[in-house]
Symmetry: C2
DNA sequence: CCATCTTTGTGCACGCGTTCACAAAGACAT
DNA sequence: ATGTCTTTGTGAACGCGTGCACAAAGATGG
């Protein structure tokens, strides 16, 4: 998972668990694909396979939404697409601004996934005066000076931050000040926001580091006899200063 | 959180909880910033604030690594940077290939966060023959035909997929076939991989949909009298066919 | 050497999320 | 109408993650 909720630690929104909310888009995507192939109904088993989750989990997730689905048959695809869309708030469209039109910002602007599902790019904003007026993905870039005017004028409540880390908090503050209450942050920084504002972060570097951890672990186990990586771990734990392995434990203090 | 582990449901790797592993990069970033300011030691309280987490959680996380830290003083910054780097496997460098050099792939290639922390872009790969040889971020793009050769020749074990959704599974299969065991997937698809291969996914569209859900909920609560959103929920739940609200419940079957 | 003060490391309890396993519900055939 | 068969919806148990609260450890000053 490339993201982590920052705010709102464990608030079950209207009785729907956060973990379930995070999976709804996954189901929606699978259902949309089925819909395009004109498949009328689908069982929890099939849909779960398509979404890459356990079928029991999927049924429980749906049970939070209501009792859609027919026993012995499955779920009506079109009906479920509609219900999930409504639950996620995708029946209305959400104007979104992207701040920071560098490589990543431009990539996001060109990303088709936005428009396809209820999201509309209301504006692209950058601090570089040279960018102003230049069209990216068919939309002219506007200058940061007009940020507040743009947000308020378009009733934007969702902002995407794709600036360098150093500018992120400042941009965030201005967005929030202008009325934005949901932020998707691509800058590698911890943003601090007032209560009531949701922040989700996407961090490429963190994802890679997590993969590296598991990769290293795989490589380590491979080198061992096989089947009992516990021996090495036990040997390490027998020392009383924690798992240092073969590393010189020079504590520079 | 923009990502979710697909494989390896809850395997505590070498005793370190997955949730802790996911936070280590966060701590590392904060520590690196302190290190650059030549701060010698830091307390769990300060570091936790910088990383945006609870200080008790941070201390517990570190306790899984060992008993670094000095009571009454705090943690030695340099030492901790080294220990976490080692734990994450960042003391070696990891060659990475990026497949799919469109807007997003190019943005990733240009992203500084890669090189700065143990990751080296070994190759850029694209299926478009017109891209072949063209330099992106100073690295010439190579054609998909040579994918296996590139992977094996460079000992690559981490692959990044930035292709359109339709090509992702096929690319994934070829990467895995050539020896890649960790994949970071930006394509909006569920990848299926054999056991032993880790997949993490980053999906912009999903993140936005989760934000939209919370945004909708905020807007809904705002419209209510104040303080008792339970009334509306109760009214809905009083019907026996689940929460449909004011929506025409046409069940197309 | 002793007292005090700061900060770590962790035992414990609690809540969320996952999974199993099964009863209830409906479709369908006879 | 009745029985059979499929698939949903959910009660219950379990495990992981979080946060509180405190005892242990060490630094520091007298």
């Amino acid at each position: 998972m490339a993201t982590g909720r920052t705010h709102r630690p464990a608030t079950r929104s209207r009785g729907i668990p956060e973990a379930t909310v995070a999976r709804l888009p996954l189901y929606l995507r699978a259902l949309t694909a089925l819909s395009e192939r004109s498949v009328p109904t689908v069982s929890s088993e099939e849909l779960a396979a398509a979404a890459g989750v356990n079928s029991a989990k999927l049924r429980k997730d749906f049970s939070y939404l209501g009792s859609y689905g027919t026993r012995g048959v499955g779920y009506d695809v079109e009906y479920l697409v509609y219900q999930i869309s409504r639950e996620l708030g995708l029946t209305q469209d959400w104007p979104v601004v992207i701040v920071g039109i560098g490589n990543l910002g431009a990539a996001l602007a060109n990303y088709g996934g936005f428009a396809s599902r209820g999201f509309r790019i209301a504006a692209l904003i950058d601090a570089d005066p040279a960018m102003a007026g230049k069209p990216v993905a068919g939309i002219p870039v506007q200058h940061t000076d007009d940020l507040e005017k743009i947000i308020k004028g378009n009733g934007v409540s969702i902002g995407v931050i794709a600036t360098p880390a150093g500018a992120a908090q400042q941009v965030c503050d201005r967005l929030v000040g202008a009325g934005v209450t949901s932020i998707l942050n691509f800058a590698p920084t911890v943003l601090s926001v007032p209560d009531g504002v949701d922040v989700r972060k996407v961090d490429l570097s963190i994802e890679l580091q997590i993969l590296a951890f598991h990769e290293q672990r795989k490589a380590g186990e491979e080198a061992l006899p096989d089947g009992l990586p516990a021996s090495a771990a036990a040997a390490r734990e027998s020392t009383d200063k924690g798992p240092d392995g073969d590393v010189p434990a020079v504590m520079p203090a």
